[in-house]
Every structure is written in C-alpha cells, then in structure tokens.
C-alpha cells in the first residue's frame, strides 16, 4: 500500500511577529511542523504499522529550512521524504499549493493521502480538499477518528458542539486531520538517527507549478486593539490584591 502525508512548516505561533510588506517577516522566527500535520503524520504511521507491507512518503513544499521539519516526520516513521524546493511557498495561495501536490501525486497511485485540516498560519482549510478534487478521489475533512480495514475506511468527522458524523469510504481517498485525532509520538533518539539515512528527494517547484494564483494578499496588518481592557503588570502578590479589588468592584461573585 502506498501512503502520502503532506506537511507544512509554520512559524511558532507564540512568536513576536512583525510585518514586512504584505506578509509577516520570516527572519528570526522559530519554525515547526504545522500542529494539524503532526496528527496526519501519526495517523499515516499508524496505518503503515497496521498494514505492514506499505510505503509512506512525506511531502513538503518550501525553502531549504523545511528539511528540518521533514526530518521530524521521517523520525516519526515516514519511509521517504519528497521536498519540493520553493522559496516562495509561504505566499503561494491554496490553489497553487494544491496543484503542485496533485501534480506530484497524479501518477503515483497513493491509496491513502493525509493532510492537516488547515495550517496554523493561513488556516484556509482548502488545500487537502482541493488535492482530492483535482485527483478525483473521495475526501473527508476534519476527522477525529480513523479506522482502516482491508481497503475500507471508517472515520468520524467532527461537527460543532462535540457531535460527530460517521462516514465510510473506500480507497484511494484523502483525509484532513483535526487536532485530537490521535497522540502524535515523540521521535526517539534511535529513530532520529535512522531518519538521517532515509531518502530525502529534492525536486524543483517549476516542474510542478502549472497554475497561477487565484488570489493575492494586498495588505497585512495587526488588528486594532479594542481598548478598555486593563493591563496589570508587576509583583504577583500586589497583582493579586489589585485583581481581587477589581473583581469585587466589577462583579457580584464575591459578594
């Protein structure tokens, strides 16, 4: 069985962001695997372990630094990596990114494809579904449970209010993974060492990009602070006294 998992490298969301033109400044940021993709990688590795005879490829589009994130996926259990080298990846729109993935996957006959349900930076939730539509295969988004049994897949899709939809489909198919789908493993030291020897193929973006962007960012900015909110800083004990005073004045819960 052939499995593909698509991952993205994103900035640590706790970073101090600054804006440079129509995008955030990408220098001096810490980078990590998109959180949703950690669940996709884990699910892909679990299926691989369940099925046995299978080959799991991790795909990532981006500049040279994304190799670090790919190594984590390889250390988690992916067999091989495909890096589509693209310095402009961060600003490409979902349509362009999905087209590149679909172009790569088009002739590879993957049985299962996993993506995160969205990225933490753009959060469009479009790429995975686009890829499936372009490849003309079924897709289920936002899964929180995944069971594979002899080319039949049963999943639970998360809806609002904790309700889940029960869905099944055959292969090939694509799934976009929601947080909490599983417990992503931490790579062990021996697996990190093994990952260094795994194949990591570099391909050029120009060979995969056949469409133009469907949208462009014309401006990036920080939201206006609504104001009114009081900011308290200082010594914890003094802060506690001040907060208690405020809660007594503004609410009835301590009366």
């Amino acid at each position: 069985m052939k499995i593909l998992v698509c991952i993205k490298q994103v900035p640590d969301m706790e970073s101090k962001f600054t804006i440079d033109g129509t995008w955030y400044n990408t220098s001096d940021l810490a980078w990590r695997m998109n959180e949703y993709d950690e669940y996709s990688v884990e699910q892909a590795v679990q299926v691989k372990e369940q099925v046995g005879d299978s080959d799991l490829t991790v795909l990532c589009i981006g500049p040279d630094r994304v190799k670090e994130t790919m190594k984590k996926a390889l250390a988690m259990g992916c067999d091989r990596g495909v890096h589509i080298v693209d310095d402009k990846a961060a600003q490409r729109d979902p349509w362009e990114i999905a087209s590149m993935i679909a172009k790569f996957a088009g002739d590879k006959e993957f049985d299962l494809i996993f993506c995160g349900m969205q990225s933490q930076d753009r959060a469009s939730a479009q790429v995975g579904i686009y890829v499936a539509e372009m490849l003309c295969i079924p897709s289920v988004s936002t899964i929180v449970d995944f069971q594979y049994d002899d080319a039949n897949v049963t999943v639970k899709r998360e809806l609002e209010g904790g309700v889940k939809a029960l869905i099944s489909t055959g292969t090939p198919a694509l799934f976009t993974c929601q947080l909490g789908l599983n417990t992503p493993r931490y790579p062990t030291l021996p697996n990190i060492m093994k990952a260094k020897k795994k194949e990591l193929l570099s391909l050029q973006a120009d060979d995969f990009l056949e469409v133009t962007a469907a949208q462009e960012t014309t401006e990036m900015f920080f939201p206006e602070k609504k104001g009114g909110g009081l900011v308290l800083e200082g010594d914890p004990a003094e802060l506690a006294d001040r907060l208690i005073q405020i809660i007594k004045e503004k609410t009835t819960v301590m009366g």
């Binding site: 969301m13 129509t22 479009q126 998360e158 869905i167 099944s168 469907a214 014309t218």
Partner: protein, 302 residues
C-alpha cells in the same frame, strides 16, 4: 452585486447560522438568493428565492451531491459571491464548489475593507486583505464576525432543485456529544486552563482557584486533546458555550474557537505571559504574569 448564501441543516433542523449570512449580505447591500439541502418543514426566515434540495433524497451531509446541486444554482443565478459559514459543513463544501467552478475561495472572512475580504493570519495575531482574481468567488464567514439579521418573519419563495449526482462516501449518522459530567453553562464563575499551564500537574492550581471563587474549572481544546482535562469541561466551538458572571482564562492564547465559546461572559480576566495574545481582545483585565506564581498568590489571598 448578487450573492448566493448556503444555509445548513442538521439532524432534521435548520441551523441558525444563515442569519449571520443574511447579516453579511445586508451589510454589503447585495441581491440575495439562498440554497439549502433541507426540508420544506423547516424554512429560513428569508423573503427571497430559496433553492431547496430535499435532504431526504440528497442527504444532510453529502458534499459531492450538494456540490453538484450548487453548481446548477450558480449556473442559473450567476452570483458574484457564494457565501458559506466557516463551519464543519461550510469549510468542507466551499472548496469543492470553488474547485468545480474554478474560482477562488477566501476562508474565514472577518471583515470587509474597500469591498475586499479580510481574514485572520497566525491564530488571529494578524489580518490580511485578500483580492480574488476574476469576477466570482466563494467565501466562508467566521462565526460571530457579522451580526445576525434581525427576525423578519418572512417566508421564502421555494424553488425545488434536483439533479443526478453520485456520492463517493457513505454517511451513516451522528454520534452525540458525550453527556454527563459538568454543565458549565450554569456556573457563575469559570476558571479555564489553556496550553500555557505547561504541564498536567498545573490543572490543580486552576481547579483550586475555581473552588475558591465558588465556580467550576474548564479548559481550552489543547488541554483536552492532551487529556489533562476531560472533554466535558471543554469551552469553545466543539465544547460548551458559556456565559458566566466571571471567566478567568489561565494561559489561554485566545484562538477563535475558544473565544466563540466564552465571549458572552460578563467579566473576563486573562492571565497570560504574552501581552499580545488574542485573549487580550476580549479580556476586561489582562494580568501579565506567570500563572504558576500568580495563581497560587491569588488563591492565598482569597
């Protein structure tokens, strides 16, 4: 400007989100038509044309079929914008339709600036204005970003829509949310733990504060996913929606899914080391402090 709104139907009921879609179309002053895969027994409060696909035939959740029916409505009505809620139904169906129509999709719109959609970036820390190519596009609207249109008691002019489309999945029903445990919606005080609490042992610090204030403790999604707190205490879109007199957010950055569940709280205190965290936007008081030091100090004095 013409807009096609996509309403939602689940478990035999029309969902209320369409009122926000109507609020949006009214704000941008667009001629409005609507699509619903639902039932004539549960019609939206809307005076225009409603294209109704019978959910008994076409299913409540069946993206391939709903996409096909929507392409027919688009061909008939030629809308400039097709608008969905940014919900589990909307974010799933919108890109399928955009792909079929070969038009751009803009996700989770929170504002409109000079006729262009504005969307959040990096957990709502920043925003960007987006310009789609071409004259038609699909968008999804963030829940709560556009006020719902007031009730008008209207009845739509219903146009039945049919089509022969094939499905590639089987939807076999719903699994209800876990019941039992804690009903946070009745608590007057809620103290919630977020990822910023750092380790599972610190849940106790938070629950102690809740005890002292005579309330319950809750949690944001990452803490529940990590199994530090059980799901029936989760506050947010996929958990409970709460409106206590006092909400204390401990180490919660303020992802939109969390804010949607607690922003109706009467008074919000946020405790966070990051002064710029989005939770600051809804907090009446933001205490910039390490909660491991601050919360025990607070408990001591209560």
């Amino acid at each position: 400007m013409k807009i096609l709104l996509v309403a939602e139907y689940r478990d035999g009921n029309l969902l209320e989100g369409y009122r926000e879609l109507l609020g949006f179309s009214s704000k941008i002053n667009a001629e409005t038509v609507m699509f619903l895969a639902g039932s004539a027994d549960s019609l939206p409060d809307f005076g225009g044309t409603l294209y109704l696909a019978d959910a008994a035939i076409y299913g409540e959740f069946n993206p391939a079929i709903h996409k096909g029916l929507l392409t027919e409505v688009v061909a008939k009505e030629q809308p400039d914008i097709v608008a969905f809620s940014h919900s589990s139904y909307g974010w799933d169906l919108a890109p399928r339709l955009a792909c079929a129509l070969k038009v751009p999709q803009i996700s989770e719109v929170v504002d409109f600036k000079d006729s262009l959609p504005v969307v959040p970036v990096c957990n709502a820390k920043m925003r960007r204005t987006v310009k789609p190519t071409g004259s038609r596009y699909v968008l999804t609207l963030q829940a709560g970003a556009f006020p719902a249109l007031e009730e008008s008691g209207s009845t739509p002019e219903v146009v039945q829509i049919d089509g022969d489309y094939k499905t590639d999945i089987t939807f076999s029903g719903y699994e209800e949310a876990e019941k039992g445990g804690v009903d946070l919606s009745k608590a007057e005080v809620i103290v919630s733990a977020g990822r910023g609490i750092g380790k599972p042992e610190n849940v106790e610090i938070v629950s102690k504060l809740a005890d002292k204030l005579g309330g319950e403790y809750g949690a944001s999604r990452p803490v529940v996913d990590a199994e530090w707190v059980e799901h029936n205490r989760q506050v947010g879109t996929t958990g409970q929606t709460v409106s206590p007199k006092l909400y204390v957010a401990c180490g919660i950055s303020g992802a939109i899914q969390h804010l949607a569940g607690m922003k109706k709280s009467e008074f919000v205190v946020a405790i966070n080391t990051d002064k710029d965290a989005p939770i600051g936007e809804v907090a009446d008081v933001l205490v910039v402090a390490d909660l491991q030091q601050f919360v025990p100090a607070l408990v001591e004095k209560l």
